[in-house]
């Protein structure tokens, strides 16, 4: 039988996402991809996958997954969640595992991921990845267009997600150390492109105000409620293209930050654009959170982007063997010196 993860319960909105499908926006095809690509990369690193491999993006309430393979190694990175591993689907008690680590599950074992806290998304990667045909170079799910991912939709109970590997490798499980996934309260943004649709005073007050992330926010856009923004020149523009992190202001005066599944074009003026370094953190902000925006220059944004990319590059260095308290124990160092095993297994991913 082909190895798979069987979906016993789908969670609230669980989709397959990778780093997205750029390059087709001129044809109306959104980029999509993980809301929080930092957590996705870390989840992949924990199981030895390439950074751009597809993984499950879990939103708010997690799925329950059964292993239909000899065994499979899963990792969990993102928001906090209670994760329980049961010996089978009928079992009443299981063992708890923490997030930010990998765990090897055997045939028939069931991982139940509970409600998320401290963030909107959690990524579940599986060693070797899902055996799914990419669409236009990506396995990301674009929900509105029914494109990519698993049948173009969120998971449903009964789905069998095919796996590339029929068993996990013999490497030890690892955990992720020191990756900062906290939610900032201020997000940096560059004014424009339509700053001329707002008075200078209005732009200043936007950067001074606090907004609450509202229900109705989704992978396409984060709906904000707070101080109503007044337009200086009406709220319709001739539709133009939308950048990641665009903050558009429709007639209601309540801003919407456009995220991974953003439409490629739109007809509302955009007061500012969240910088690329802050977008992954924005993607993990759950409904009900208060956020504010801080104006930066493009040069500042470039410097922040460089620092951000350096952090991404350092993710593999944050993968350490499980149960070593962060420092390698003398015994493990010996092992490592002798065989190179630890190094090969965890830090050179």
């Amino acid at each position: 039988m082909n190895p798979s993860l069987r979906v016993l319960a789908p969670g609230l909105l669980t989709t397959i996402q990778d780093l997205g499908r750029p390059g087709h926006q001129r044809l109306g095809i959104p980029v999509s991809g993980a809301l929080d690509p930092v957590s996705l990369r870390a989840a992949n690193a924990l199981v030895g996958n390439a950074p751009d491999a597809g993984a499950l993006e879990v939103a708010y309430v997690g799925p329950t997954l059964a292993v239909d393979a000899d065994d499979a190694r899963l990792s969990f990175v993102g928001a906090e969640a209670a994760i329980e591993i049961f010996p089978d689907a009928a079992a009443l008690s299981g063992r708890r595992v923490a997030t930010m680590r990998s765990v090897r599950l055997h045939w028939g074992e069931v991982a139940r991921i509970g409600s998320l806290s401290g963030g909107a998304v959690l990524y579940v990667a599986v060693e070797g990845g899902f055996d799914i045909e990419p669409v236009l170079g990506s396995v990301s799910t674009y929900l509105r267009g029914g494109l990519g991912g698993w049948q173009g939709r969120a998971l449903l109970a009964g789905d069998r997600l095919p796996l590339v590997r029929d068993r996990a490798s013999d490497r030890d499980d690892c955990r992720l150390e020191g990756l900062d996934l906290r939610l900032p309260t201020r997000f940096r943004a560059i004014a424009g492109p339509q700053s001329d649709y707002f008075s200078e005073r209005e732009i200043a007050s936007f950067f001074d105000s606090e907004y609450t992330v509202c229900a109705g926010s989704d992978r396409m856009g984060m709906q904000l409620a707070g101080r109503r923004l007044a337009h200086a020149r009406g709220f319709n523009i001739i539709s133009d293209a939308i950048a990641p992190g665009s903050i558009q202001v429709p007639g209601s005066g309540q801003p919407i930050v456009l995220l991974a599944d953003r439409q490629t074009t739109g007809g509302y003026p955009k007061i500012a654009t969240v910088i690329s370094a802050d977008l992954p953190a924005l993607g993990r902000v759950p409904i009900g959170t208060k956020v504010a925006f801080e104006q930066v220059t493009i040069e500042e944004a470039y410097a922040l982007r460089r620092a951000f990319l350096a952090e991404l590059d350092a993710i593999p260095d944050r993968i350490v063997p499980l149960g070593t308290g962060g420092e390698l124990s003398p015994r493990l160092i010996d092992l490592n010196l002798i065989s190179g095993v630890v190094d090969a297994q965890c830090s050179s991913l």
Partner: protein, 243 residues
């Protein structure tokens, strides 16, 4: 050299805007710049997105800074060739039967034309594909004859079927997927502008005319499309809609 301004769109994209109207002249400039950029293959450009009167350029700032990109754009503008019209020509079958055109009578009433005149006006224009957007493959085609230009419906529909042929303002569209929509529905096309794995049928700069077909022809072409056997090719390459 054309008038234009450059607007920042975060730290990985910028907008080159040629004006504030929807017209063929501005669209030609947008598409000409997109064409030039694809020819010069500037390292650091990730993709460009043409819209009615502006071009968004997505770039990697660690390879190409905005200042350097803007300087390069300025150079390209000096020698921008507007001969354009590289687009392909298409004849797309369209059924205007009231069974699939819920707003045809209403459009006729609003414009003071008969339904037959609406169809005649709509299907004798050669449309220019300004841009793709909103949904995968969805082409905004213009310009409609002035007498067909109507504001959107006061009450958008929550759902219209895929293939709906619709008009609003100076544009006409075939909606590639089921979607909410405030446009006036004047027909249906069996042609899907979005092919699940093949991408988009039309591309900005293409030219399109609509070829009126009967409800029976529509249904037969739709059945063919469902089998994946409706092969639509540009008219300059063969004969257009395979029937």
């Amino acid at each position: 050299m054309p008038d234009y301004k450059v607007l920042p769109a975060g730290d990985t994209a910028l907008v080159v805007e040629f004006g504030e109207t929807v017209d063929r002249r501005l669209s030609t400039l947008v598409l000409a710049l997109a064409q030039r950029l694809s020819e010069v293959r500037l390292e650091g450009i990730i993709e460009t997105v043409p819209t009615f009167r502006s071009l968004m350029i997505h770039y990697d700032p660690l390879v190409l800074r905005a200042a350097a990109l803007v300087a390069r754009i300025d150079e390209l503008m000096q020698s921008l060739q507007l001969s354009e019209e590289r687009g392909r020509s298409w004849s797309l079958p369209a059924c205007y039967d009231t069974d699939v055109a819920p707003d045809l009578d209403d459009v006729a009433a609003r414009t003071g034309l008969s339904p037959a005149q609406v169809v005649e006006r709509h299907s004798t224009v050669t449309y220019h594909v300004y841009m793709l957007g909103f949904l995968p493959g969805q082409a905004y085609m213009g310009d409609l004859p002035a007498e067909l230009a109507l504001a959107r419906r006061e009450k958008p529909r929550l759902k219209i079927p895929a293939g709906s042929l619709a008009i609003a303002a100076t544009m006409t569209c075939i909606f590639p997927l089921e979607t909410p929509c405030g446009w006036h529905l004047i027909g249906r096309s069996p042609v899907s502008l979005w092919q699940q794995r093949g991408g988009a049928l039309l591309t900005p700069g293409d030219k399109v005319v609509f070829n009126p077909i009967s409800l029976r022809e529509y249904e037969s072409l739709l059945a063919k499309a469902a089998e994946g056997a409706l092969d639509i090719t540009p008219v300059d390459a063969s004969i257009g809609a395979a029937a």
